[in-house]
Symmetry: C2
Subunit: 529 residues, 2 copies
């Protein structure tokens, strides 16, 4: 169901990328070390300049460290040494966001996602000397080059090697943090802005290494971080128009869209993600007051309201389903019914705000009554009054995610929410948060319930834990108690610069470093209760 | 020693290549077969059109047969099947001139030339569907595509796949052979023109798969075949100016030059090859009567005369040397002294013709006296009057190559030459001809000595032997008695479309199908005796 005028608006908003020339910082070795994260440690062995003095032949290799995570294109000047090149030069390139990607062999990769996401190439260069730019974009800090040939008359040298990094984020517009912000938060702020920057391309990508797609769940969080930092409103607008222009057959906003070869929706529908179209539009309007866009996209948001209400059963509860109908978090055993119900309430409240903003009073009243019905149903059918926990599904599962989302939905009063969260930490149900995505919502829930210290503690444990492990950008997956965790059966395929992990800057700048004098009420999604 | 005006003339003569869209003829399998050449047989398994109906995933592969040898660029449309592609597609491409290149694994290649000459690629395609053209040029008839991913949600299909072949040879200008030419010679004529065509690019390459360089030894033979067929005089002129513009420090014409990244000489000097500058200029003038080019390049030719004479010892014999100072043929044990002496005489006779043509009578007389001195020295010091064979080097080696070149040099009278060649076949010295390059000269020697039947017999045994083995283009290496022979330790690295093997069309059209009414005397190098 393509709305071409919307797609055309989106395409006109496609940004020019900002390019930067990045030279490697040093030559390193990646050393096996059982004590190190994933079992690999980085050890400096020389300056970048010392690379130019070296001559390479078959069997030689070297590893460069860019000093930071980069997304971009590799350019290098290949020269022959000792004799003129009389044969093509065959090189293998291995790009790694993390040392494990350099240390381990991709050939033995046996994970559950396609090996083509692992970033390596074997390329033959016919003309040497020559300056080459590899055609694909890579996401990496470490680069290993293995020399497969020459083996005979000549050797090769690298006269120049750099990365042209690309991003649609202009960091010059990010205000400095005030002096009172402590150092560890400054570090987290920097890393999360870098994460955001490297994910901001011609859309908000979920991960520049893997997937490289626009997912609405990631977009919503990126947009929140973006409003606090680089303020690229046009890019959010472009993404909203892409989702609005590329709905599924039934009118649902799809979970993700592809930009190339031409904009197209994936066939994945997720209950929570389609509702986040409302949230993202709500947050966008709060940040920009762009009434034209609100008016144009409101019908799509309203359609999501209707479609989502259609899933409620006679009791007013989201119909559960063993299929993957709602995201919430990556957790094999997590039941989504309660969180889906909560996201519905959360998004419907934002729809009420939008309807009121536009002046659609009757519609606002109608949606408000849906909110009341869904909230009432949650209290009646999902909340276990004796334990005080919301329960989900036939098995009446108690999970962290269900409680977190019910807090964000504001089904209970703020004091009750705070008590629920205290109880959650105390009793620690075994279905715990898995990904940065749900940790974001946990911290947001703590913030909104007046548990800022606890929120800060969790921020420090979780994202601070990644920072302590040397993260240049925040990761798709992090389990402090199981640092080699991968949802895909291999650390190699994890994304180590991942959109849904970019929100520490949002928390820090919104809650710990409030220096915006002109911040408006209702400027963030979490304040709509 | 760069003569920039000459190089500039050469660059202005760089041809536009003629492109042709070539679709594969069929799907095949390459089957191990101890009876087949190199141990591999081709078996048809389907039409090209049937490819479009197939869907591929990890582990699948297929082999296409273009039906003939082609030099060019691969384009294909990659589509996803069953679901949208949600990950890059990783494909391996293996290009083979011969079935063995598809049948055997390049990973086990252990030959003496760099493995980078073997034509394979692993390429990741980020955007599917998409139409891609691989950036490198390939020389091949067979193409194997191995699907390394996808392994999960989707499959891939090839909606379109073709080769854009390139050549600077315009076959429309090749006259048909007269009716009386027998079928086997017609086949050889066709194959040798195809060989010439595929080697004719922006220079006369030695082999479009391997080396891809302009060697003067190959150029001389290609030019002869070219004058009888496609008549691209400008390309010969361009190559002459490249050699003239890019001499070695001492003024010698180098054995080969590179076109890219900018025209440059290799550092290889070969005694016979530098003398072939004179021969190639002589033949070019005979074919074109292009007096301006002759006048401009004559000083370079004359310089080669002087430099080559400088190698004569007191007796007037070329100083022998254990180093690789003269090509003659690929044969480990061949001594080059006698053939070098003969090439000197051969080229000096052509220099006399050129000097006379220009009107430089004194210079002509002077070079004629050098010819006489070198010829006399050869008769005195190299010819063994008791055996009737020319002997080469300290060990007084009797080889086929030495006799062949002495015949071409015309040191003896025609009847004596004929007797020498008869004796050569009868006594069959063990240092035999190895490559098509020396076979060309053997056949030319037979032709010029009135042994046309023997020449034809040899043409049929040698090039006819390749044709019987299914050659699409003639090969760099062929030993009828040892068909798996490779000078590089592996059949995989041999070039199967090689310039110095392209001359059957020259012999057929010059000696067996004389239909040129306006053929001039002295129009070919071999007629200068």
């Amino acid at each position: 169901m393509i709305n071409k005028p919307f797609v055309d608006i989106a395409e006109r908003l496609k940004p020019e990328l900002i390019e930067q020339k990045i030279y490697p910082k040093r030559l390193v070795e990646i050393v096996a070390d059982p004590e190190a994260l994933h079992g690999w440690r980085v050890q400096g062995v020389g300056t970048y300049d010392s690379l130019h003095e070296r001559k390479f032949e078959k069997g030689d290799s070297f590893v460069l460290d860019l000093g930071d995570h980069q997304v971009g294109y590799l350019t290098f000047s290949l020269q022959s040494a000792e004799a003129r090149a009389d044969a093509p030069v065959r090189l293998k390139f291995i790009f790694g966001e993390m040392p494990c990607e350099i240390g381990e062999s991709f050939d033995e990769y046996n994970g559950w996602l396609d090996r083509s996401w692992l970033q390596d190439e074997i390329v033959n260069f016919d003309v040497v000397p020559g300056t080459y730019t590899l055609p694909r974009r890579y996401s990496f800090r470490y680069l290993k080059i293995e020399v497969l040939t020459p083996a005979r008359k000549f050797k090769i040298a690298f006269a120049d090697l750099y990365v042209t990094s690309v991003s649609s984020a202009d960091l010059s517009s990010v205000p400095p943090l005030p002096d009172h912000v402590p150092d560890d938060l400054r570090v987290m702020d920097r890393i999360s802005i870098k994460t955001l920057q490297d994910c901001m391309q011609t859309v908000f990508e979920d991960g520049p290494k893997r997937d490289r797609r626009l997912w609405i769940g990631d977009l919503r969080l990126q947009a929140l971080a973006n409003y606090e930092t680089v303020k690229n409103y046009e890019l959010v607008k472009r993404c909203l128009y892409l989702f609005a222009g590329l709905r599924l057959e039934g009118g649902q906003v799809s979970a993700c869209v592809y930009e190339k070869p031409e904009p197209a929706a994936d066939d994945i529908y997720l209950y929570d993600y389609s509702l986040f179209f409302i949230s993202t539009l709500h947050d966008y309007y709060a940040a920009t007051q762009d009434r034209d866009t609100l008016l144009q996209l409101w019908p799509v948001a309203l359609e999501q309201v209707g479609l989502s209400l259609g899933r409620l059963d006679d009791r007013g509860i989201v119909t559960d389903d063993p299929s993957w109908y709602c995201f919430t978090d990556w957790h094999e055993d997590l039941n989504k019914q309660a969180s889906a119900q909560a996201v519905l309430i959360y998004a419907l409240k934002q729809a009420v705000v939008l309807a009121q903003t536009i002046g659609l009073t009757e519609q606002a009243i109608s949606i408000r009554s849906d909110v009341d019905r869904a909230s009432e149903a949650a209290l009646t059918h999902l909340l276990n009054r004796s334990t005080g926990f919301f329960e989900s599904g036939d098995q009446r599962q108690v999970s962290w995610a269900s409680q977190v989302w019910m807090v964000l939905a504001g089904v209970l009063e703020q004091e009750e929410n705070a008590a629920l969260l205290d109880r959650l930490f105390e009793e620690n149900p075994s279905i715990r948060p898995m990904t940065p995505y749900i940790y974001h919502h946990l911290i947001e829930a703590l913030m909104l319930s007046g548990r800022k210290e606890k929120a800060l503690e969790q921020l420090r444990v979780y994202w601070g834990g990644m920072a302590e492990e040397g993260a240049d950008t925040f990761w798709e997956v992090f389990q402090p108690a199981d640092k080699n965790n991968s949802p895909y059966g291999s650390n190699l395929i994890n994304s180590y610069c991942h959109a849904w992990s970019c929100t520490p800057t949002y928390f820090i700048r919104k809650y710990y470093a409030p220096f915006h004098s002109n911040r408006t009420k209702d400027s963030h999604s979490s304040e709509v209760n």
